[in-house]
């Protein structure tokens, strides 16, 4: 029996090992349907089967027989909900978007049939979309998009273009992500991983193939033959089908010599504990998860550190010691912990490689395309013109996709070996184990106030739990907060035989704020002072001071409940302050070329959902005074000029000014041939077209100019420099605590962000709203869980690793304070990180306000809440 797919009959497959999602994507090429979790949790693979939304990754393809299937491609692009998602910017990276759109289309149609053109409330929408997860956290936009579509606001095309230029491609499934590029004949590569926590690998025996030979296998260990955690990539195999490749991988035999291991921080600190890195050379080569190179620090056994930052440190320490001896009531000394958070981009790490005539073609999901080109060129010793790296759409990264990771190495090596294109896409169980994480921390904070309520001393000791990797900076970041009183902060790492971390959005920031901001609120209580007023006294940062003034006027804060709360449901409001250094990429370049009479904007940067594709086009169009539809933006091709990596909140503040500079250079070049092009101001459309026609093939390259007063640091490794001034943020969170069932419901959040001028208000807001979602996840749900005795990660699917859904997030209002960065070309700096740092901390303070119980450990799980509040 055939299956009708998007209106056309197609043969139903009879392959038991192929699920419906694989069939639609692989056989029919309908790659709008995404596979993200493989277990029916995330909804990215949602299709309509006889009109009913269905998780196609769990649907046997044979179950399609005789049924009618609609994929996102079949919606056609003009369903009201698709228009609404684009107009309300209900998306960022776009990877989950097809699934959301397919499900929402059914909901919207059914709602309107039953209720007419009215908007449903948030709870109703959250119920309908409960089977979908968006890791970027574009939920605010999705709520408003679905409500507007239900209200009948998008039955025709809106007049205005959507805020995000690639939204139409993302809501229709046309946007092709890395894994969607699989030409016919593409093989599947599967990585063979360590099943033991610590061992020396002696020999890897490939699986026998059907012909009595050896199945193709490539080594991923390199010179260091020691595996130091379960899940470490050892080798990779490939086969024409995924099922066959998985069988081959299972048949690989790894001969190894086990070594003693430690899999918990406590065990690693015991005297005589087995050493993760026994030799100095091994310690020196330990992986780092810092965003920038950290300070040097000594090692003792499994402990690295301390890395110390001190400002009148001895004074701080002696004041704190004396205060402890005299039992000073204005000494707050507490310990706080955070859990391991996993980046969990819905698009996993994925690479598709093929070799043709000595040229390497590589599609790869990366946050740092230009760096990737460098690394690939170096690793395989290729001339640049033979390396073609493409990363057109990136389905989220949050810091995890910066390195040359095993999926890429495996795809490139296997492709060369089997002489066919090879795709290596991590399963969710790999992505949640060995693709990076934000390490857990144990942080001690000591604050001492004087009799006038001034901050007399600050000390922070923090221990990072980054598995085999090091680079904790939690304490260091605390040194940047609350003025110049004496302080000493020390960072330690304890290494264990567990997977390594990677930088994650605001590395070190959320655990720092979790600890410090709880302590500051505790001090406010001791001083009998309002938490806002204490911060206004202690915090000299002008941007946050501006935000504090807003908070003071905010009804959410001003009218918050006071006094002891009773009853089952208790409401509370808390706030937290945050800051982040201003980083930039001095090498940012944007090229403008004239091709076929059209203007093309090119750069080897990549859009992970922040919207840089849109910003580049907008900046150029605005600078020239032309319409944004008069140009094409081509990013994500490694052959273009150097583009900034999406790290350290520096993409827009680096690329935006380079685009403006390119536009200025283009104008100058046009004026040489067309004197009627004005020296400044808008260029009339006909003048512009005429001018372009005279310079076919012209190319100009814009650069990121210097800030006024220059930078604080020279260009460091990795196209990174530190600029003057820090961004600031203040979050105010309202929660309702169900003391009977131990649940926290964040109800409202106000996010005040000070990062200078915005390039695109809606996309900036989306990113800050998403930061609230990720911060709520960090505060309440997210926690990698490991088996204590083996270090095996137990939370290796999206059921056990819990990220927030639509029903778990507060109604969020974002306020931007846009002053303070006038010395930066473009007037604005990045906000991706500052917007996430204080969210969990504000939530913790709100829970305290509601219940009177100070929680010190994240996440705030029901088991932790229920014992403490009733």
């Amino acid at each position: 029996m055939d299956t009708t797919v998007n209106g056309a009959p197609t043969p139903t497959p009879d392959e038991p090992e192929v699920n419906a999602a694989e069939h639609l994507r692989g056989t029919l090429g309908l790659t709008g349907t995404k596979i993200a979790c493989g277990s029916g949790v995330c909804g990215a693979c949602t299709i309509l089967v006889d009109g009913s939304p269905t998780a196609s990754c769990l649907l046997p393809s044979a179950h399609l027989a005789g049924r009618s299937v609609t994929t996102v491609e079949g919606l056609g692009g003009d369903h009201p909900v698709q228009r609404a998602f684009a107009a309300h910017d209900g998306l960022q990276c776009g990877y989950c978007t097809p699934g959301f759109v397919v499900e929402a289309s059914v909901f919207v149609d059914a709602w309107r049939t039953e209720h007419g053109d009215t908007a449903p409330d948030r709870d109703t929408i959250a119920d309908a979309l409960a089977g979908h997860l968006c890791r970027c956290g574009a939920y605010e936009g999705i709520f408003s998009a679905v409500a507007a579509a239900c209200a009948g606001e998008f039955d025709t095309d809106p007049v205005e273009a959507p805020p995000r230029a690639d939204a139409p491609a993302k809501v229709t499934g046309r946007a092709r992500f890395t894994g969607d590029h699989a030409p016919p004949g593409t093989w599947t590569g599967v990585i063979v991983r360590s099943t033991v926590p610590h061992a020396r690998v002696l020999k890897v025996h490939p699986a026998p193939d059907d012909g009595g030979g050896r199945a193709p296998l490539v080594d991923l260990l390199g010179e260091d033959r020691t595996v130091r955690h379960v899940g470490r990539a050892i080798a990779a195999v490939a086969a024409p089908t995924r099922a066959e490749a998985r069988r081959l991988a299972a048949a690989v035999r790894v001969e190894l010599e086990p070594l003693p291991s430690v899999t918990t921080v406590d065990a690693a600190r015991e005297p005589g504990a087995p050493l993760v890195y026994p030799t100095k050379a091994e310690r020196a080569a330990a992986l780092g998860y810092g965003e920038a190179p950290g300070p040097r620090a000594p090692w003792k056994d499994n402990v690295r550190g301390p890395g110390v930052v001190s400002w009148r440190g001895p004074t701080a320490v002696s004041r704190l010691r004396a205060a402890r001896l005299r039992e000073d009531p204005l000494l707050v000394a507490e310990e706080y912990t955070t859990a391991t958070q996993v980046h969990t981009p819905l698009e996993p790490h994925v690479s598709v490689a093929s070799w043709e005539g000595g040229h390497l073609h590589l599609h790869v999901s990366t946050q740092a395309l230009s760096k990737m080109v460098d690394k690939v060129t170096e690793r395989w010793d290729l001339p640049r013109e033979r390396v073609h790296v493409v990363t057109e759409y990136v389905g989220g990264g949050f810091g995890a996709k910066g390195a040359l990771s095993p999926d890429t190495v495996a795809a490139v090596e296997l492709s060369r070996l089997v002489d066919a294109p090879v795709r290596v896409s991590l399963e969710r169980s790999e992505e949640l184990v060995d693709a990076g994480h934000r390490p857990g921390n144990r942080t001690r904070v000591a604050l001492l106030a004087g009799s006038e309520g001034d901050l007399r001393a600050l000390a922070v000791d923090s221990v990072g739990d980054g598995g085999v990797s090091v680079g904790s900076n939690v304490a260091t970041l605390a040194a940047l907060m609350y003025g110049r009183s004496p302080r000493r902060v020390r960072d330690f790492d304890v290494v264990t035989n567990r997977p390594p971390g990677e930088p994650m959005r605001g590395p070190g920031g959320p655990p720092m704020a979790w600890a410090l901001e709880q302590a500051v609120d505790t001090m406010a209580l001791r001083l009998g002072e309002d938490p806002l007023s204490l911060r206004r006294r202690w915090d000299g940062n002008p941007k946050r001071r501006a935000l504090y003034e807003r908070v003071a006027q905010l009804p959410l804060w001003r009218d918050r409940p006071r006094g002891e709360r009773t009853g089952r449901f208790r409401r509370g409001v808390g706030l937290a302050a945050a800051g982040w250094p201003y980083l930039l990429g001095p090498q940012a370049r944007v090229e403008l070329t004239v091709r076929g009479g059209e203007l093309v904007v090119r750069s080897s940067t990549q859009d992970i959902g922040t919207g840089i594709r849109t910003v580049l086009g907008d900046v150029v169009a605005e600078r020239l005074g032309i319409g944004a539809d008069g140009l094409t933006v081509e990013i994500g091709h490694g052959s273009s000029v150097h583009g900034t990596g999406s790290f350290g909140s520096r993409t827009t503040t680096s690329m935006g000014p380079a685009a403006a500079d390119a536009a200025d250079r283009l104008r100058d070049a046009l004026r040489e041939h067309s004197p009627d092009v004005p020296a400044s101001g808008p260029i009339p459309e006909h003048t512009f077209k005429e001018a372009l026609s005279r310079v076919e093939g012209l190319s100009v390259v814009g650069e990121r100019g210097l800030d006024r007063w220059g930078r604080l640091t020279p260009n460091m490794a990795g196209d990174l420099a530190v600029g003057r001034g820090m961004s600031g943020a203040v979050h105010v969170m309202e929660v309702e605590v169900d003391t009977l069932l131990g649940r926290v419901r964040p109800t409202r959040c106000w996010a005040g962000i000070a990062a200078g001028r915005l390039y695109n208000e809606r996309m900036a807001r989306n990113q800050c709203e998403g930061a609230v979602v990720q911060g709520v996840g960090y505060a309440l749900f997210e926690e990698r869980r490991d088996d204590p005795s083996t270090g095996v990660v137990l939370s290796n699917d999206l059921e056990e690793y819990r990220i927030p859904g639509m029903g778990d997030v507060p109604e969020t209002e974002v306020y931007f304070h846009q002053e303070g960065f006038e010395h930066v070309p473009g007037g604005g700096i990045g906000l991706g990180e500052v917007s996430v740092v204080g969210v969990a901390a504000a939530l913790g303070n709100a829970v305290f306000d509601a219940t009177g119980v100070r929680h010190r450990d994240l996440p705030l799980r029901p088991d932790r809440l229920i014992g403490a509040t009733r």
Binding site: G38, L58, L59, P60, L794, G867
Partner: protein, 328 residues
């Protein structure tokens, strides 16, 4: 991996009689188990489309026999089922996600594998996968049982079983020694190797529900971290048969709980305390005492002590809702 597609229940039984053959219903758990290696690939019998398995048959006395292939979504949405068995419908609407409910079936839900992270991780052996220990008991069992029937510590995953226990439903069987078995006997807590008592080759064809009770009061409540789409830490179904079509005092109560033990459990001590309680008023002391006494039933693991107050709280919440009494 071969898949057969029988066209009658008799053919299914014949297929299932062969060793190693597994039935596949909606496939939402089976496909995930095959994907993650909980199950090794083997011959399957596909139940989709087998005539009779997805029918709802209404008996002369007004009771229903619901076919095993009826989807969870249908249980929550079919108007006659919703009217007749509202507690079952409310429970069905609360589990998993809309997409899963549209595909997952009644029979599959009752006989699914548990959610233990050790069971679902190929790095571990346990009683269920041919091993001789429970790694969760010594390891991470935060979501484990609080009524320890031993030796496995994974709670039974079926949400529908909790509601069906409250209805005192039974299952219809083909290919086994008996044609019918009460829900309470479908599960057995001390056998760590399996989730139910059906022998290999036995097919669950339908669930028999009792004659509907007009105006029954009911509630389904679950405790979990996230608001939706999460396996519960505790869940409770309360069904109250009250005089005067629901307006009068409780004549008969059924309180069933899930996610606390290897099987869904009835709480007879709470049920008897509820008899004669009138809707809308405060809960009498004997109900409070019964809730407190739930702690005596519990035998927490080192990390599941929190489930004692959570069980008491969730049961209280469900009772308060079913009786529309003010929250304390």
């Amino acid at each position: 991996m071969t898949v057969t597609r029988p066209t009658s229940v008799a053919e299914v039984s014949a297929d299932l009689a062969r060793p190693g053959v597994r039935p596949r219903a909606g496939g939402t758990d089976l496909m995930a188990c095959l994907e993650t290696g909980v199950l090794t690939p083997g011959p399957l019998v596909d139940l989709l489309g087998v005539p009779g398995l997805d029918e709802v048959v209404w008996e002369a006395d007004g009771s229903a026999r619901v076919g095993a292939m009826t989807t969870v979504a249908t249980l929550g949405a079919d108007p006659t089922l919703v009217t007749a068995y509202p507690a079952l419908a409310a429970t069905a609407r609360a589990l998993a996600t809309p997409q899963i409910r549209g595909t997952a079936t009644l029979g599959g839900n009752l006989l699914q594998r548990n959610r233990c992270a050790y069971l679902r991780n190929p790095a571990f052996d346990c009683f269920q996968t041919g091993g001789d220990s429970c790694p969760a008991r010594e390891g991470d069992h935060l979501r484990g049982v609080v009524v320890d029937q031993g030796p496995c510590v994974a709670p039974h995953p079926s949400t529908l079983a909790v509601a069906l226990l409250a209805y005192e439903a039974s299952v219809r069987l083909e290919g086994g020694p008996v044609p019918e078995r009460a829900i309470v006997d479908l599960y057995e807590g001390t056998d760590p190797t399996r989730e139910h008592t059906l022998g290999p080759g036995t097919l669950l064809t339908a669930v028999s529900l009792p004659v509907p009770y007009p105006g029954e009061r009911f509630a389904h409540r679950r405790a979990a971290g996230r608001s939706r789409a999460e396996w519960p830490l505790v869940e409770v179904v309360v069904r109250l048969e009250c005089a005067d079509r629901g307006r009068g005092p409780v004549e008969r109560a059924a309180v069933a709980v899930g996610a606390v033990a290897r099987t869904p459990l009835r709480l007879p001590e709470v049920e008897s305390a509820l008899v004669d309680v009138a809707p809308g008023g405060n809960l009498p002391d004997r109900v409070e005492e019964a809730l407190t006494a739930l702690a005596d039933r519990c035998s927490p693991l080192p990390a599941t002590g929190y489930k004692v107050p959570l069980l008491q709280g969730t049961v209280r919440d469900a009772i308060e809702r079913a009786l529309e009494v003010p929250s304390r």
